[in-house]
Symmetry: C2
Amino acid sequence: MQLAISTDMLVANTHFLADTDPEALGWKTLAVNVSDLAAMGAVPRWVVLAVSLPQADEAWVAAFARGFFSCCQAYGLDAVGGDTTRGPLNLCPTVLGEVPLGQAIQRAGAQVGDMIWVSGQPGRAALALDELLNTSASLAGKWASEAVRADCFQALLRPIPRVALGQALRGVASAMLDVSDGLLGDLSHLLAASQVSAQIQLPDSLVRPLQASGAPVARVFQALLAGGDDYELVFTAAPQYHDMLIKLAATLALPLTPIGTIVPHQPNLIHRLTDPNGQPIVLSRLGYDHFSG
Amino acid sequence: MQLAISTDMLVANTHFLADTDPEALGWKTLAVNVSDLAAMGAVPRWVVLAVSLPQADEAWVAAFARGFFSCCQAYGLDAVGGDTTRGPLNLCPTVLGEVPLGQAIQRAGAQVGDMIWVSGQPGRAALALDELLNTSASLAGKWASEAVRADCFQALLRPIPRVALGQALRGVASAMLDVSDGLLGDLSHLLAASQVSAQIQLPDSLVRPLQASGAPVARVFQALLAGGDDYELVFTAAPQYHDMLIKLAATLALPLTPIGTIVPHQPNLIHRLTDPNGQPIVLSRLGYDHFSG
């Protein structure tokens, strides 16, 4: 077996609001790291957690721990150590996983002709974040239904790392990443590492559910393509795997959607980007940059 | 082999001053974690580093990286990943090491009758910190010599994790910890985990070098017993290992000093504490508590 490792630092007011429900935060702190292991096709095994807290708030810590350990349990991780200290609120989990030797899926490896796939429904977390941050795009009071609002908040606050999918894609996906900073932004990392470009045509099946929220179509494209925080997997695979992937989606009860094709390296990593009608989409920003965002 | 893992979170103005020389900080950030592996008898192998920075200061990052990677090189670690984000200055390394199955040295395991040993010269870092923090005990302008001052600052800013010693103590030490928060404080953790108590008699050989700094004797005792940050190892071993340990000290060119004996569990973990003349020492504070300090 090979060891896979991922570390992440979550900072109050950069990655989450300081008043976030601590139980949800506990879940998400671990889930986003488990997602990194999922993207390598690894089996999550152990976690250590370093935390800095402004003060020792027992109720906060207890709720955080509930969320964190329920995520440990859900994905079979043992919490094997950690560090607690005083300082501005900061959460730093490091997760370890195992993957059979040579079978870890990496961001480099996409081949010209491969299909590009994404799991689940990216973009929902971004719509919820609009409301949390009270941006001009906020749907507060304008959601099409309470159910779709709840669904978007669930995606933001309780993301589901795609662990079973990641493992099932060993030997199938030529390259993979999880979508933490935005679909096109993370895909661009994959493309750059693989030294290829992509043609993307958004399928209606990914656009329609977001439009059902009540958001205008421009915001839907933005959320879908540049919204982070959903922790879906984006991956490439040779066309021969198409039918196998459709079957896998049914087995896992998780949609897997082809969104484009890998093409030879071009000046623009995203060589072409079109909507379900084949019309070009122009986005002002592809993803989230921690130092300019 | 068994995997050993340690994570630590270093927060500006809790663990280090925000204006600390970044190269020294880079070294120390890794060294203190390598020290945790040393205390288990493990061989350091890999490190991931998560960092949050208030802004992208290239010169600062370059100097920090120089120190960090020179420590990687000194102790044979590969830096295999990390995360960089924006936020209050916070450094969170996670180190991984290997130790033969069942041979990891733990804090539980000290037996009644074992001798208590400490490596090197604890207390020097505390004297340097007095000057940095400009406390009433500061020796600024009162150091006995520039050489002893430099020596104390070296201990504070460039601690040397006792990696070779830790590995040599496999099968010898019954329990071990590194001295990060203060000799008696860390020893107390070892005693509590082992459910035993200790009688400590400070040997003159540990007191004299600190007195040579110019510090008054009360401050010397305080620095030696409660000063953190030296990253020496404190361990217990059966008396039969005495001669072997004296030889090992010569081989490693690192003093190993017996400072007391393990006794049955008592109401006070530190059952007796005497100076080189056998007189009781009374300390107001045993170590450093991150939430009350």
